[in-house]
Amino acid sequence: MTTKLIGLLVLVGASTFFVMHVMSPPDGTDGGPGADAQEWEPPGRSYRDPLPFSKSEDCKGCHPDVWSEWYDSHHRIAYTNPEVQKLSTGFQGKGLDCLPCHLSRPMFETGFGVRPLERLTRREDGVDCFTCHYWPEGNAMLTSGPLGGAASQAPCQPAVTPSMASLQLCAPCHNQHKVHEDWKETRFAVKGDGFKDCNDCHMPTVERPNAAGGIRRGRSHRFPAAHDPVVLREAAAVTQSLSARSLFVTVHNSGVGHNLPSDERHRAVDLHLVLDTGDGRPYDVRIERWRNPYRDEFEAVNPLPNPGDAYEKTVTVPELLADVGVRVKRVPAPHRPNRKVWYPASTQIPAGEKRELSITLPDGVKAVTVRLWYRTNPFQPDKDAVLLHEKTLPE
């Protein structure tokens, strides 16, 4: 009953907001976006004219900094990226379903919370300016103003809706992989000083010069995430200690607002040990892999379904004809000690959780190097992966 009441209130509120701030042509009779209407309607064009633009390049003239950020982002190469082309089998067959989020038409066309549709053209632009900012009635939608002054003459007819900052703008694509659901389980989703949403990390505040020679604050359109080594290295904190043959390692999802790696099934985080026996050869062995398996990996199970669970295994180092003994424990996050992972087969590390590994090294190991790798797909070799952490013991 409470849910329905809240739902009704939300519906009424959101609909009213939509009508007041978005649907209605501004009439300049009161506050809000409509206040600037008479000023910002370009002379000679009606408010409902279509945008006089057809591609992101057209935005560059007035917004060169924002455009450059986007141009260097992975949104721009969402379609052309060779790795994406490979993993989606060229967007054919089963990969066809990847297309709407990698070559998206405007989100405002299909609506928040609904999957977008694909556009087929301007493939080199991937997820472009139009995907997020294009309002079909003929405006460039922004999160905030001002809309007066020079902006009132802008040919893109800017309009404002705070819903642009809503997570529901990102969710239709990024929650395909449950990233938003993961976020909701974190301390970052708790209202208060520690609150952070998608925009705080992936669209951080930046300052850019404005046309008048001053500085204007805005949001980065570079979308730092899994392809940014600097951001990646802040994701996990690793500690290690060695006593005789006993190695103790912790991997802590300390810096991510969702699972590590995120619930994009291709991603993988691997803990490796490189064993040094003094013979001059490195013996590299993967001790643990954290990821959400592909749907057809039926054999995959998560041995740590509940916080506090532990399991043991041995990892063979074939070249040494020796085993590494491993005991892994799932240490819950303080803010949510009873957290369960969304997919039972997933071994991802939820935000705030730790994995404690008690490792028994084989006889004869003189030194060990602990490495944590981030791979954008599970088949990625070390040379293409990002090394998040490396430490050799004894020091």
């Binding site: 060229g90 379903d97 977008p116 053209t121 909701k184």
Partner: protein, 456 residues
């Protein structure tokens, strides 16, 4: 003043929405998980982890023949397997169609194929059309024996969608091919002499006979003795609601749900058409272009005159992606009507729709299609010129634009390579060992291979 009040109300709504979105996590209501829609005693008894697999199988088979909605509901839950289901239909009286989608997760209860076989057999005994969508999906089960039994159950429900699966499974391992043959014999009343213990020469001979039987069915007009009446809208209210719900799933957010809904409806064939038509109307009323675009994709696979009619309707849709998908589907259907219609679509104001239409004309081929492609103005978008080249190449059976298309395989950008490869593979029936990520010298090998195939 009134406007300010409404604006404040709107803001309040958004705040509540945001708080609600930041609540206790997925699928929870103020920290209370939603009730388990499969917690009824019968369903629990079929999934009971506290008893042996044999006991669960006995329980499943024991309710076969009970066509009540409760029994069918329990059996459908027992049937599920992660390989063929992204979502389950859970009863929900708050939804107008009486269901909500629950994401299916691997929990360990999907590990035993014999339980799923038992569920299919029990569902077949119920004769309930409510099971039709789920049995169609069971043709994708990761275990071939489950697929085979689903094919048999489907025949009784008037659907031949499982027969190609049975034919394919004849070429699989023992037990898989044995049950496929047995079920084909049951369905057809024929014996093609397939012996699972024989060598592959003998088995191949029998497989060829089965394929000839299947190919001859439309010509002879013979109905397999086991074949039931195809489903008709209105004959079972539960089936109607389930199918309508699956149509609506084409407009939801999760791509896995789309995949499942599309596969189910495409396999359902002509009986799905009235539901798709109603789905288009519902989606127009609600403004859901994603549903309409999903329906346009499904229609490519339903070989029926009425599906062409619905495609023609979708070609006039307000949303460009719906139109472009309808054009793609029309190209897959082919025929003179498709060429005429697609030639008109080349004049669509949206370049994405033009692109889909010109590619589709290439796929259909023939003199009229070639003339339309030649006359097409490809200046509206950078992707159009390459698409026109590929279309002309395909429409002429590789006679024109050959070197241009082979050159695309060596292009710097991978999308161009992939687009060329797709057309070359379709035309030659060979993938030439092409790998988009391979080094240039490896791709040159694919070019030589394709050149040889085209010359040959």
């Amino acid at each position: 003043m009134r406007r300010r009040f409404l604006s404040d109300l709107a803001l309040l709504g958004l705040i509540v929405a945001a708080l609600s979105a930041c609540g206790d996590g997925p699928g929870t209501d103020a920290g209370v998980p939603p009730p388990d829609p499969f917690a009824d005693p019968l369903t629990r008894s079929l999934l009971d982890p506290g008893v042996s697999t044999d006991v669960r199988i006995e329980r499943i088979l024991a309710i076969g023949g009970d066509g009540s909605s409760g029994a069918v509901h329990a059996l459908l839950r027992a049937l599920r397997d992660r390989s063929q289901a992204a979502f389950l239909l859970a009863p929900d009286e708050d939804h107008e169609l009486g269901y909500r989608a629950v994401e299916f997760k691997k929990t360990g209860d999907d590990a035993y194929p014999m339980e799923r076989v038992a569920a299919v057999v029990a569902l077949e005994k119920t004769g309930s059309y409510a099971a039709l969508p789920d049995l169609l999906l069971a043709l994708d089960d990761r275990n071939e024996v489950v697929q085979n039994h689903a094919a048999r159950a489907l025949i009784r429900l008037g659907s031949k969608a499982g027969i190609p699966v049975l034919l394919a499974n004849l070429e699989k391992r023992i037990l898989q091919n044995e049950t496929a043959n047995q079920i084909l014999e049951d369905i057809s009343g024929e014996d093609m002499g397939f012996n699972p213990d024989a060598g592959w020469d003998l088995k191949d001979r029998a497989i060829r006979k089965w394929k000839a039987w299947w190919d001859g069915l439309p010509v002879s007009g013979t109905r397999p003795p086991l074949e039931g009446r195809p489903y008709q809208e209105g004959s079972d209210p539960v089936a109607d609601r389930r199918i309508a719900f699956i149509v609506d799933m084409l407009g939801q957010m999760q791509f896995l749900y789309h995949e499942q809904a599309r596969a189910t409806l495409a396999r359902m064939g002509a009986p799905a058409l009235p539901f798709l038509r109603a789905g288009v109307e519902r989606a127009r009323r609600s403004g859901n272009a994603t549903t309409r675009a999903g329906i346009a994709h499904v229609l490519a696979h339903i070989d029926h005159a009425n599906s062409l009619e619905l495609l023609a309707d979708l070609l006039g849709d307000a949303h460009p992606t719906v139109r472009s998908r309808a054009a793609e589907s029309l190209g897959q259907r082919g025929g003179a009507v498709a060429v005429r219609t697609l030639s008109d679509v080349l004049g669509d104001p949206d370049p994405a729709v033009q692109l889909a239409a010109v590619a589709s004309l290439g796929r259909v081929g023939g003199d009229d299609a070639i003339a339309a492609i030649r006359g097409f103005d490809d200046s509206a978008d950078s992707a159009l010129a390459a698409t026109k080249t590929l279309a002309l190449f395909e429409a002429t059976g590789g006679k024109e634009q050959r070197e241009a298309v082979l050159g695309m395989l060596l292009a710097v950008d991978i999308p161009t390579r992939n687009a060329a490869h797709l057309v070359l593979a379709r035309l030659t029936g060979d993938d030439a060992g092409y790998d988009a990520m391979a080094a240039e010298k490896d791709r040159e090998r694919a070019v030589r291979r394709y050149r040889g195939l085209l010359d040959g």
